[in-house]
């Protein structure tokens, strides 16, 4: 028996997707025996055996279509010439892929295609990168016998999309784009309109691409075998000549890409088929919105200034470093070592983050280091550590393909995590049930071929009440997985939790009025979740950014443990991280109370390890969190800050308070690509590096460590970690690394969950999910499989405590915030790309009844006021939100959404309560104001 050869062959298109069967069949391809999983197509088996059958409509990212008729084969004992892409292998089958008869048929098919195709290969933008051209060569087509007749050569171009062009004259109607839009992306924006000779690719109802439902993910461009759908960059610059594998710098999905260049000029970013997180898919941001890296706003030279009202002065690196160090030393002498601190960035690599927190702890001699996860997923860290033992999502992304029920809480995956959203939608189209818990009707609630089984449209701020009610039903209806609880969990804590959750106060009936969700809806959702084979929870900032964010994380963990939905494929608790390296920044010791690997600074064993390697005594008391640092600045006790790649003046809540705190400092050092809002308060600007210039690693939401490789040299001349090391040196503490790989080696030496990680291993394996150590040398896709990290799963009682932020007569509406597909966070990157064609400003969504009551029409300028401040933006009347709730994004500094958010925060972590702000709306003039 031959060994199955279903192995990954990089960059080779095997024609059809892999079959998932565990049984194998043996077929003979041109006399060569090959064993493949049952259900494998002849085309794929032939590719695996080393024979590439000509094809046009087939590609291994899409189900077989069988339309181009180029892949015909002969099967012994059968009549005709079946398409190899749609014909599955059967035991003992003998296939011929090359015969005179097949050659003639294929040449005839190609001749027909080419008879209606421009003969402009030499000047075509896809010359050298065109499957049609390749296949014409493969089949040996030398001439076209047909005389000129009806054709599509004058079909027009659609250049409406800013990133790609659609040239209908070059379309062979193979449907690969249509199928990619449906099968891979799940948007169903494309179709083949009309019939026969009139057949053509059509976005939506014959709209232009830009006006259609297209989300510009690029899957159609990727699938197109000709120059029909092509990146405008390729048309303008030419076909790339070199490639570098790297990782996207946008959301926490962490897609792998192949950066394709001509010299040092980036031509396009192509999603990597081998990418563990994205498996060849992408979204509009990662695929196309990288032009910010060379935007004219980029600052590439260091700058300093004496005061924030004086002009910036460009200086050389040594002067900038000395300036910052002198200021920091002066602050230390005058105000003490705890008057300084730093913030690490989830947009930077693990290595860059690690050296910043090391500089703060070892060089500045304080634990005043925090990270932007403070304002997003710090409750995840707290809640999952309490219940499971570590701060991490439990699954890999592929796990969703085994889920029978998917519960999405406070997340909008199709906008904020679009590539994972597509994976989730595929599973939902296959029949998994969907429960959405969200005040808004997000796209998933009802989209093509998807309809949520339950939408729990709760009042903002009542998450814990709703999940407690779900758990109450499960506990009182007898749907607890008693065996799992007894075997895997701390039984005493479970018993206490069961007593608590079974109390009448947690019943759906009791909580219906508070949450706004009917008791019957809760009961149905509880049954759906508890009775499925595999139920998985995916959540976002709609969970964490509340006064009870940490409680809510623990409530979800309780729910999963009580129903046995932990420790295998298809289940789990999965935080969808906002930024690309939120997980990594947290892992790297960015929190003021923890070293890398989530070990408390008071842990003597851990501290001794760090002290020994770093050669310096370390503090055993926790440092200040970001809000504590800002508060202390206003009080005059905190005077200087190193801010790596964050724009707290725009992204953090209660912007006026942040501005006052930054203004009170003697030295603010900003390390960034652009002069952002925070830099208005800075004295030193240290130019950062874009992801295309970085060398290091990102860790995505599934704990997958991916390599970030330098595609072009740093525009500023230095890597960011080199700048941090230089400042540390100037402050008197040397951090000596020859390259980023050495930093990872140090991380591995000091962080048990990273013990086996190295650049060499990552280069060899592509990516790896932590823990990666002696116990798990190949990483850990699914956590808590045999036992929880903390040993037994810990149940925690989760009483619902209403937030202080409530609607009042003065502020009767509740504002909640979120993101949109085309923009990213504070927009520093995406606002500097053509993505602004989709979202040029923040818009306030308001229910029709609330708008009418206030005399607001769609598109009107309005003033939004809270107890913290007010701002202006345009209104959009929407039925996605219930009456009494309004919604907006925070991508644009001009609208300054965080001017109105308050300083309420999570009780355990101080994560801001962005998701609940009491506001009032009134019509306004058209003058937009900033902060």
């Amino acid at each position: 028996m031959n060994k199955p050869i279903e192995i990954a062959i990089e960059d080779l298109d095997l024609g059809t997707p892999a079959a998932l069967s565990e049984s194998t069949v043996t077929v003979h391809i041109d006399g060569k025996a090959v064993d493949v999983p049952a259900g494998t197509s002849i085309m794929r088996a032939a590719s695996l055996a080393g024979t590439q059958i000509p094809k046009l409509c087939a590609t291994d990212s899409l189900d077989a279509h069988g339309s181009c008729r180029l892949c015909l084969v002969e099967v012994e004992g059968r009549k005709g010439t079946p398409a190899s892409c749609t014909t599955p292998c059967q035991e003992g089958m003998s296939v011929k892929t090359q015969t005179p008869r097949l050659d003639k048929l294929r040449k005839g098919v190609m001749e027909l295609y080419i008879s209606d195709h421009p003969l402009d290969c030499l000047t075509c933008s896809a010359n050298g990168d065109c499957e049609l051209q390749d296949m014409a060569g493969v089949v040996g087509l030398r001439s076209v016998r047909y005389e000129e007749g009806s054709n599509h050569l004058d079909a027009g171009k659609d250049n409406s999309n800013p990133y790609f062009s659609f040239d209908a004259s070059k379309c062979i109607v193979c449907s690969r784009c249509v199928r990619a839009c449906s099968e891979v992306q799940g948007t169903f924006a494309l179709t083949i309109a009309a019939r026969g000779f009139e057949s053509k690719v059509s976005p939506s109802e014959e709209n232009a691409f830009l006006d259609s439902e297209c989300v510009s993910c690029g899957a159609c461009v990727q699938a197109c075998p000709t120059a029909t759908l092509q990146e405008k960059q390729v048309i303008d610059l030419g076909v790339p000549t070199r490639k570098v594998k790297t990782t996207c710098a946008y959301c926490g999905v962490g897609c792998s890409f192949v950066a394709e260049l001509r010299g040092d000029e980036l031509v396009r970013m192509v999603p990597d088929k081998q990418g563990g997180a994205n498996a060849g898919h992408s979204c509009v941001k990662g695929r196309f919105a990288w032009g910010y890296a060379t935007h004219s706003d980029r600052i590439t030279r260091p700058m300093v200034r004496e005061t924030t009202d004086s002009e910036w002065r460009e200086v050389e690196w040594p002067e900038a470093i000395a300036f910052a160090a002198d200021r920091f030393k002066a602050i230390q002498q005058k105000h003490g070592i705890d008057a300084l601190g730093g913030i690490t960035s989830s947009r930077c690599t693990n290595e860059e983050v690690y050296v910043v927190q090391k500089m703060v702890r070892a060089s500045l001699q304080t634990n005043n280091v925090d990270t932007c996860a403070r304002v997003c997923h710090s409750p995840t860290g707290y809640g999952l550590k309490q219940t499971f033992g570590t701060s991490a999502g439990t699954q890999d992304f592929a796990s969703v393909q085994q889920a029978d029920v998917i519960m999405v809480i406070g997340a909008n995956p199709t906008d904020a995590h679009p590539v994972f959203g597509s994976r989730m939608k595929r599973r939902l189209r296959e029949g998994a049930k969907l429960i959405v818990i969200d005040p808004r009707s997000i796209d998933l609630v009802k989209s093509p071929h998807i309809k949520a089984t339950s939408h729990l449209q709760l009042q903002p701020g009542t998450n814990v009440a709703v999940v407690n009610a779900l758990a109450h039903v499960i506990a009182t209806e007898g749907w607890i997985d008693e065996a799992f609880v007894q075997e895997r969990c701390d039984v005493a804590s479970f018993n206490a939790w069961r007593r608590f959750i079974s109390l009448p106060e947690n019943s759906p009936e009791n909580l219906a009025e508070i949450s706004g969700v009917a008791a019957e809806t809760i009961r149905e959702a509880a049954a759906t979740y508890a009775k499925a084979g595999n139920s998985a929870i995916y959540y976002g900032l709609g969970v964490t950014e509340h006064s009870q964010g940490s409680t809510m994380v623990m409530a979800m963990a309780n729910l999963a443990m009580a129903t046995g939905n932990i420790g295998r494929d298809g289940v789990g608790i999965n935080p969808l991280r906002g930024q690309n390296n939120v997980q990594g920044a947290c892992d790297m010791g960015s929190f003021p109370h923890e070293f890398s690997g989530y070990r408390h600074v008071s842990d003597e064993t851990a501290r001794e390890q760090f002290t020994a390697l770093w050669g310096v005594d370390l503090r055993e008391e926790p440092g200040m969190r970001i809000p504590n640092m800002l508060d202390a600045a206003i009080s005059g006790n905190f005077r200087g800050m190193y801010i790596q790649g964050e724009d707290i003046a725009q992204s953090d809540p209660n912007s006026q308070h942040v501005a006052a705190a930054l203004s009170a400092m003697d030295c603010v050092v900003v390390q960034d690509l652009f002069l952002n809002e925070t830099s208005k308060f800075a004295h030193v600007f240290l130019p950062g590096t874009s992801f295309l210039e970085k060398d290091g690693t990102f860790t995505n939401a599934e704990r997958r460590i991916n390599r970030v490789r330098p595609v072009v040299p740093p525009a500023s001349g230095l890597a960011e970690w080199e700048v941090t090391c230089a400042l540390s040196e100037a402050m008197g503490y040397t951090m000596d690394y020859a390259n980023a790989s050495e930093i990872m080696d140090e991380i591995a030496a000091l962080t048990p969950t990273f013990a086996g990680v190295s650049f060499d291993l990552l280069d060899e394996r592509g990516s790896i999910q932590w823990p990666c150590n002696e116990q798990a040398p190949e990483g850990t896709p699914i956590m808590h499989a045999q036992r929880f990290v903390r040993g037994e799963g810990q149940f925690v009682t989760t009483p619902y405590v209403p937030t202080d932020e409530r609607s009042t007569r003065k502020f009767p509406l509740l504002l909640t915030t979120g993101r949109i597909l085309s923009q990213y966070n504070v927009g520093a990157q995406t606002r500097r790309t053509d993505n602004t064609v989709w979202h040029a400003e923040d818009i306030l969504e308001i229910h029709e009844a609330d708008a009418e009551l206030r005399g607001v029409a769609d598109g009107d300028w309005i003033e939004v006021a809270s107890r913290a401040g007010s701002t202006r933006m345009r209104a959009h009347i929407s039925d996605d939100i219930p009456a009494g709730v309004v919604y907006t994004t925070f991508h644009h500094p001009v609208s300054g959404t965080n001017v109105i958010t308050t300083d309420n925060s999570d009780w355990a972590t101080n994560c801001p309560e962005y998701k609940v702000t009491a506001v009032e709306i009134r019509p306004s003039s058209a003058i937009a104001v900033g902060m």
Binding site: D338, S602, E621, S635, H657, T798, W907, A908
Partner: protein
């Protein structure tokens, strides 16, 4: 006693922690443990001063927690 922004925030944080502790058994001890894990020594000292001068602003559990740290 007047409070600066920092101290006002500490009062709110402490009361919020007390009100959200998962189990209602021995809440002061839980508050102490939380503060030892996440608060800096100056923050704890500030809270103690607040408790000494304006106890009425802090919940009974917070006051008991402050007393336990003496």
């Amino acid at each position: 006693m007047t409070f600066d922004y920092n101290q006002q925030h500490l009062i709110k944080m402490a009361n919020q922690i007390a009100g959200n502790m998962p189990t209602r058994e021995n809440v002061p001890a839980q508050i102490v443990q939380h503060m030892m894990q996440f608060w800096t020594p100056p923050m704890r000292a500030d809270l103690k001063k607040i408790a000494e001068h304006t106890a009425e602003l802090l919940s009974d559990d917070v006051l008991a927690a402050v007393a336990m740290q003496d």
